[in-house]
């Protein structure tokens, strides 16, 4: 399961007034999350790593992911933040790669959903 209960909630929110609600929300998510991912990517290139800043970005990203119920992505976010707090650069980099993979998978799944 890539998406949790939250996604179901979104579906339930969709109605006559907002017939494309889920799609709109997901679109917003893409936009926001892409931006955040870019920020994190750039921040990760600065050495030494600014953990506080990274943590901040990831916090935002986590929030964004939670909006559509991206379970796996969210889990990676938490892990990333743990590494940030521990000051573990290696861990951060690794987790981020993993996160991006999950994110990519998620997007594919969502695209399929909207077909």
């Amino acid at each position: 399961g890539y998406l949790d209960d939250q996604f179901v909630q979104l579906e339930e929110l969709q109605d006559h007034a907002n017939p494309n609600f889920v799609e709109e929300v997901v679109a917003l998510f893409y936009k926001d999350s892409s931006r955040l991912l870019l920020n994190i990517d750039q921040a990760l290139e600065k050495k030494p790593l600014e953990f506080t800043k990274l943590d901040g970005y990831m916090h935002q990203f986590k929030g964004s992911s939670s909006s559509i119920g991206a379970k796996k992505v969210k889990a990676e976010c938490t892990l990333f933040r743990d590494y940030c707090r521990a000051g573990n650069a290696e861990g951060c980099m690794r987790t981020f790669q993993q996160l991006k993979k999950e994110y990519a998978t998620l997007r594919k799944k969502l695209e399929a959903y909207f077909q």
């Binding site: 909630q9 979104l10 929110l13 926001d32 916090h59």
Partner: protein
């Protein structure tokens, strides 16, 4: 904005929604995450709530101040780019006294605790469930109950009706300087007074304590006397010596005050010389809405629901201020007793700042703050660092003729770099938000806003309490570079005037938008602008019987370097907003003020 306000007013007036409660609950959602904002909006709408969204804290504060009575509850994310969510929380608590719910994806106990400490009435974890949102009305309800002692349930519902009608006056207990308790009648609800002093028949319904300017002054005085470190509710209570004030009242007020002060001090240390109002331009400025702590800003902020006000005066202003320190009789004029806030004043060594001292004197009846009138933070940046908020005051604005632009060379303003924009507002649109938002192209221009309270009178049941600020007005003309002209609106005796005037500084997208009212009601001789001592009486609310006179203000913000055009560069920071809320039950006329009252030197 005007249209919205108008609609809202009409809507409110048209249908009391008590039976549908909590439907129609007016929620303000603040979140920088656009996805969540959209989701929350939808969820809240599904709960039949009335939703307004905001993605920036500053924007939210502006909105809240603008529509003092426009929201029932605020939901805000903890992490926001322009302002810490906790800070927003504080502000809302102090200025508007609305229940605030915090949200975050982070559920760490320490964070949650911090939220509660800062006054959040709840802390929700993202992802947020529908059922959590459905229940938020209980916070609104609970707050109401706590504020009104011994109130019966149906009365509370009446409260909500009042809120929606936006023309209600809650029955607040006003503690005047003399320690007398005056109670404002509630408009619609059974008139119950808790006014032992006046000998009114006591009723089951007690009123909540309104922290009037006067009362707050006493409070601050007591605090300073005791010594901030050693202060405690009991000590303060004793020193204040105000009958009927309870230890709890003081305790809760102290808590808010403390929070506010600590925030102030932090900002004082780190702030730049400009206060920023609109986020759009002032990314770096971390000015607080109502406490603009730019040099010499002394903000004395009290709870919005309690008729507090924040003011800042700079040391230079001291003398002037003193002059302007009107007596604070039971409905006296409120001036900024800066002496009491000296410790809050920032260093004024900077000549820029030192120059302008702004002083606003206005009288207002300490009426129900939250519903009736809201005087929000009003601050200017250099030179006049001014933060001032006095919610819950009702005003009559006199119509003022336009006075010529004052180029007071002697004024410290001449030392000011940057621009000064001159704006004169002639008319004030009742029940409409008057926004002075010059479109700006550049951020950091100085704007001098001169505030000239043309006249302020206030009367309550004691006409003798009327004090005129007129005498101080002239002195201000020369001293200050900020003039704000506001036309007063005289209403028919039984109507309440709701005047929303928001002078919003400097927003790139903003335009001057002042809607004056063409109606000059019962003012008699309209041409009699210059007379500073004109008496304007307005009966406040039906059944209320407290005539209120208001001082007029001359607001002229001029832009020296900028040729007369609205696309000026006005520093956002100049002033946040000055908001006067009047409930104007009758038609509100909308006239674009730009044509009439606006001119830029």
């Amino acid at each position: 904005n005007t249209a919205q306000k108008k609609n809202k007013t009409e809507n409110c007036l048209s249908s009391p929604k008590t039976d549908m409660f909590p439907a129609g609950l007016r929620v303000l959602v603040v979140d920088d995450d656009p996805t969540w904002l959209k989701i929350l909006e939808k969820m809240l709408k599904k709960c039949s709530y009335e939703v307004t969204t905001c993605c920036l804290a500053r924007e939210a504060l502006d909105l809240l101040r603008e529509r003092k009575d426009g929201f029932d509850i605020v939901i805000s994310d903890v992490n926001m780019p322009d302002m810490d969510g906790f800070k927003l929380l504080e502000h809302v608590g102090l200025e508007m006294d609305l229940p605030v719910i915090m949200m975050s994806v982070d559920g760490e106990t320490s964070r949650v605790m911090k939220g509660v400490q800062h006054g959040a009435c709840d802390y929700l974890l993202k992802p947020i469930r529908m059922k959590e949102l459905r229940n938020i009305w209980q916070h609104v309800f609970r707050k109401k109950i706590h504020e009104v002692r011994d109130i019966e349930c149906h009365d509370i519902l009446d409260d909500f009706q009042m809120m929606r009608n936006r023309s209600d006056q809650s029955d607040d207990v006003h503690l005047s300087s003399g320690g007398d308790l005056t109670v404002r009648k509630r408009k619609d609800v059974e008139h119950k007074h808790d006014d032992k002093e006046l000998g009114d028949p006591s009723s089951a319904k007690k009123a909540r304590v309104v922290w009037s300017v006067d009362l707050h002054q006493k409070f601050v005085k007591a605090v300073n006397q005791i010594g901030f470190e050693k202060v405690g509710p009991k000590k303060i209570l004793d020193l204040m010596n105000v009958p009927l004030l309870t230890r709890e009242n003081v305790a809760s007020h102290l808590q808010k005050y403390r929070l506010y002060l600590s925030r102030l001090q932090k900002e004082n240390e780190t702030k730049s010389s400009f206060t920023s109002i609109k986020h759009s331009d002032s990314s770096s400025k971390d000015s607080t809405g109502s406490f603009s702590l730019q040099n010499s800003v002394c903000a004395q902020q009290t709870d919005a629901a309690t008729g507090g006000y924040g003011c800042s005066a700079n040391n230079m202003l001291a003398q002037k201020v003193d002059r302007g320190i009107c007596n604070t009789e039971s409905k006296g004029i409120i001036s900024m007793p800066k002496t009491e806030h000296k410790n809050l004043l920032e260093d004024i060594s900077d000549p820029q700042k030192a120059s302008s001292s702004s002083h606003i004197c206005f009288s207002h009846s300490f009426r129900s703050v939250e519903r009736g009138v809201a005087y929000s933070a009003f601050h200017y940046s250099i030179p006049a660092q001014y933060s001032w908020s006095s919610p819950g005051t009702q005003f009559n604005f006199r119509q003022e003729c336009r006075s010529p632009l004052h180029e007071t060379d002697s004024s410290p303003l001449s030392q000011l770099p940057g621009f000064q924009r001159h704006i004169q507002v002639d008319h004030l649109q009742p029940a409409v938000s008057v926004n002075i938002n010059p479109p700006m192209t550049e951020k950091d221009k100085l704007r001098n806003v001169k505030i000239d309270p043309v006249y302020a009178k206030c009367s309550s049941t004691n006409p003798s309490n009327m004090t005129s600020v007129a005498r101080t007005a002239d002195s201000f003309l020369n001293q200050f570079d900020i003039h704000k002209a506001v036309k007063t609106q005289v209403l028919e005796p039984t109507s309440t005037v709701k005047l929303n005037m928001k002078i919003e500084g400097l927003n790139q997208d903003s335009i001057y938008n002042l809607e004056p009212t063409q109606k000059s009601l019962n003012l008699g001789d309209e041409s009699n602008f210059v007379s500073l001592n004109e008496d304007v009486h307005v009966q406040r609310l039906e059944g209320d019987g407290y005539p209120v006179n208001v001082g007029g203000y001359n607001i002229e913000v001029w832009d020296q370097n900028d040729p007369p055009k609205l696309t000026g560069d006005v520093p956002l920071h100049l002033y946040d907003m000055l908001r006067f809320d009047f409930d104007y039950l009758h038609d509100s006329m909308e006239c674009p003020i730009i044509e009439e009252g606006l001119y830029i030197a």
